[in-house]
């Protein structure tokens, strides 16, 4: 199981990666933001898929 703070989540639709260590500063999400703290209405910056369409990258 990946350790909180070092997890990566993948967009089901386009493969965009949300990396907790990096956050998404362009969207106001600071580095180190845990996935559960990313707002529920955040959407994939590449394809607009919803947060619910991201899944944990188990291989990371």
């Amino acid at each position: 199981m990946s350790e909180a703070g070092k997890r990566r989540y993948l967009c089901f639709y386009c493969g965009t990666v949300y990396d907790e260590a990096l956050g998404w500063p362009d969207e106001g999400i600071a580095p180190g933001t845990l996935w559960e703290d990313v707002p529920d209405d955040w959407v994939c910056p590449e394809c607009a898929a919803s947060k619910a369409d991201f899944t944990l990258d188990e291989d990371y």
Binding site: F12, Y13, C14, G15, D40, D41, V43, C44, P45, E46, C47, A48, A49, S50, A52, D53
Partner: protein
Amino acid sequence: MTSAALDHPAHVPADRVIDFDLYDFPVEGLDYQRSMREILQSRPADVLWTPHNGGHWIARTHDTVAKVLADSDHFSSRRIMVGPYDDSRPPLVPLQLDPPHHAPYRALLQAALSPKAVGKLGERARELSIELIDGFKHDGHCEFIGQFAQHLPIAIFMEIVGLPASDRPYLTEVAEAAMRGGTEAERNAAGAKLMAYGMAKVAERRANPGTDLISTIVQAEVDGQPIADFPLTGMILLLLLGGLDTVASTLGFYAQFLATHPEHRRLLVEQPELIPNANEELLRRFAIAILAREVKADVELGGVTLKAGDMIMAPTPMDGLDEHKFADPLTVDFHRVKPGANATFGGGVHRCVGSVLARTELRIFLEEWLKRIPDFAIKPGTNPRVSARSVATITTLELVWDPGSVK
């Protein structure tokens, strides 16, 4: 008609009222999206209200469209179209189910339409595209909708659900009538035909299951039980409507744009590496779906209070054409940064489950068509037109080109 003359409920401020009938508004040329935007932007408010089609709100900006689609606590998809609602008909599953009930049904479809599954289908789509284009490229003309747009995505969809290619013309015609028939009776009759067709296939697959998506659905269990016939009928109907209509309609808007914009065509012919971003940009610019939701509980949106039971329309073109999200939004710019972050495929928990396949098919069209027919135009003297209800389409599109220029 002025807004002062339009009746409206007491909780709707008079300055939010607009005379807009989404099923019957003037479209200039083939630019359905621009025409809608011009009308809805004639008022400064983010959320408007129209007395047409039973009376409903209209989300008019990126922000309000996104909120309506994302907030399933306040906006239910039990009703997904404005106007009369017949609750004796099976709901389109999972689209008309709110969370968490939609999830197990959606998971079934998601597995069949995952990027991995679509990867294999994409190669088939490419083969079929080449076959279709090679079949008419030396003629110097085609009727794009019938000879390509309604052929490629529908043939791929038929393979996913394991339906015979010979049924394609019948299904295309009935789906068109179900989506955009002239009267409600006509649309309902066509919907009933699609349901009857789908359930006949369900019976076949129950008796003799295969590896197709309909077989997967009929054998699936939700909450430990097989899916009952009522939701199953709605699920099959949704599959047929989604698979038969939307990509075909989008292809029509792509082709009309490229036919009338030689500099954009040339750019993609000379720099095919731009095609993935161009695909996203065209999706942004030419969204075709008008979504709607029912207000579940009183909620503030765009400076007004929406009451439980009200309907609100969320037009997907108004997200991609919002100048606060995309600069100069009516201009098609194949170098635009991140054009894909739009609501063309909807949003929230009901975002289009087939979007990976749709994007793949549209990209393959751009790649294979422009390689073979780099220059083409709309046939002079023809008068293509847009037909729209909750999904807009171009009904016929005669294209011409110099047979000597094909490759």
